[in-house]
Amino acid sequence: MSDGGQAPGVGGGPPGDSWTKRLFRLREEPPYYVRILLGVSSVGLLLLVWGGMTSGDIPEHRAISPAVLPSLGETAQSLPRLFGERGLIASIAASLTRVFLGFGLACVIGIPFGMLAGAWRPLNAFVTPLVIFGRNIPIAALIPLTLMWFGIDETQKVMFLFIATVPFVFSSAASAVVAIHQRYVETAQTLGASSWQVFRKVLAPLALPQVFTDQRQLFGLAFGYIMLAELVNAKRGLGFLIQMSQKRSQPEDILMILVIIGLLAWLIDKTLSWFQRGLFPYRRDL
């Protein structure tokens, strides 16, 4: 909606261009309220199908048995139990701590090395085989390994998340630097910048907004591994709660926890995005 000026009628809107017509324009962002409406209706549709498949007074009348898919009401009723006796808050805190530590460590190590590798390709060539290997090993295989290496306590969970995410962090940081146009490097060099100055004053700061965006997405990946990280010897944590719910045959608890994980991830992403806009005022596209 921001830019006027390509086709006549964008913004102004002659009578012929009704809003229904404008919905079908290529690459045109609909107005804010239309976007919200569309988003809400997709969730609404899902809830409607869910509600329809699980409606009926007694279990035999339902399209899907409550043991497989509990109704909306039953799922909502699990909330007090989760917050109360099952200690949801403590579990959220435990899981988030593990993710922040493991993924944070991956960022602290992966981002600087990745950016250096993007600027200095021999380092990239040196590390690339390990990164490809690390990105493609079955994640679950890391469970027994990390158990053998780091024991069964918190260290294992943090290190598992670290090893699982650091290859992705590294390659995203490297490719963000690679993507910076060579013209910037040449300009800096003809202004007398040394290699280190080009990296520190030009390449790294120009790549940083993209690095940040990538890390926002990778955070989702790290959060997704929580189940695996908490498979063994966890006394708290969202993964642990889900496992226990399965043992107790409480699918409504699992559904509720998934909803909460989704909301939590969304909240964190919004916070990061807010930080990003403050950190990079020169990128209005973020």
Binding site: R183, E186, A188, T190, K201, L206, Y282
Partner: protein, 331 residues
């Protein structure tokens, strides 16, 4: 090719034959099409120097500020080899207290930028395949602040404010914050921007013309002896372009630097230049050097003068004739 001895302008025709013969000897199965042009009838070609006797005819012992000695740049080898420029040979004297404004004219893809980037020492054009590029008598080894460069696009560091952009080179030299920002403000003013309104802006808040002004200020603040400009006004609208030309002329008068200005606008070349170098289409060779009158009025006035237009038409005809005779010699 082993003529590093001073035989610059002896006999253009013979020279061409030598070089073509050498080029033919090098790649085993002679390169296809244009590259394998028969040597003979390019008589008009490489009149460099012969046409316009270099201003400082007697070099007086001082090294030329820029000298190309039979420079050829070829990428790849065998049948896939591509020659960007071929046997470019010229010499620019360092006129004391003035410097020269050289415009490099030629069709797209003729290797104009290659010439510039060879002087700047930027890869992959640098180093040349054969021949030598000398600046101040010494071979170019890499980029440096003595040869400032202004490009057409991607010209500003998006993460820095205007004043930090302009002060970038000084910061790299270790000049203190207050000192370099002070100097930057001086240059922001000189290139026609407002210190009060623009100094703290980010590049994305500026128009294309303003961003080019920032790029020019950022280069000139380092007072380079050679300024390389690669179609810096190519993306600007005509009236902005003329304003920028006027501004550049005014700035250059105080600078005493040698400017290489690549363009494909004949008007721009004739207006700005003391001399115009005409390059042929690929592979680029230096077809001719023409001396033109320096700008003595604002661009919009001078570019309407019949005498000015005569120069423009003359050069256009020259280019067409030279290209035609080259093509005739090609098949």
């Amino acid at each position: 090719m082993s003529e590093d001895a001073p035989v610059p302008f002896k006999d253009a025709d013979a020279l061409i034959k030598e070089i073509d013969a050498a080029a033919k000897a090098d790649p085993p199965p002679a390169a296809p099409d244009r590259d394998a042009a028969p040597p003979a009838p390019e008589v008009t070609v490489v009149a460099a120097g012969g046409e316009a006797p270099a201003p400082a005819a007697a070099p007086s012992g001082r090294p030329a500020i820029v000298e190309f000695k039979h420079v050829t740049k070829t990428y790849g080898d065998g049948p896939k080899a591509f020659t960007a420029i071929k046997d470019v040979h010229f010499r620019i004297e360092d006129i004391p207290g003035k410097g020269e404004f050289i415009c490099v004219l030629g069709p797209s893809g003729c290797g104009k930028s290659t010439v510039l980037r060879l002087i700047a020492g930027l890869g992959p054009q640098h180093p040349p395949t054969t021949g030598e590029v000398l600046v101040d008598g010494r071979p170019v080894v890499g980029p440096g602040a003595d040869r400032g460069m202004v490009f057409q696009d991607y010209t500003s560091f998006d993460h820095m404010t205007v004043e930090d952009n302009v002060a970038f080179g000084l910061a790299c030299r270790g000049v203190g914050k207050a000192e370099r920002i002070g100097q930057a403000h001086g240059w922001i003013d000189k290139v026609g921007l407002s210190v009060k309104n623009d100094a703290r802006k980010y590049p994305h808040q500026l128009s294309g013309g303003m961003r080019q002004r920032v790029a020019i200020a950022r280069t000139l603040i380092l007072s380079p002896r050679i300024i390389l400009m690669d179609e810096p006004f190519g993306a600007l609208d005509p009236s902005t372009r003329m304003q920028m030309q006027d501004n550049l002329v005014a700035l250059w008068r105080d600078l005493e630097a040698t400017v290489f200005f690549v363009t494909h606008s004949i008007e721009e070349a004739v207006y700005l230049g003391d001399r115009v170098h005409i390059l042929s289409s690929s592979p680029g060779t230096l077809l001719r050097e023409i001396t033109v009158p320096p700008p003595d009025r604002p661009a919009h006035a001078m570019q309407r003068d019949p005498r000015f237009l005569e120069y423009v038409f003359d050069i256009r005809d020259t280019i067409e004739t030279l290209e035609a005779s080259r093509r005739a010699g090609d098949d």
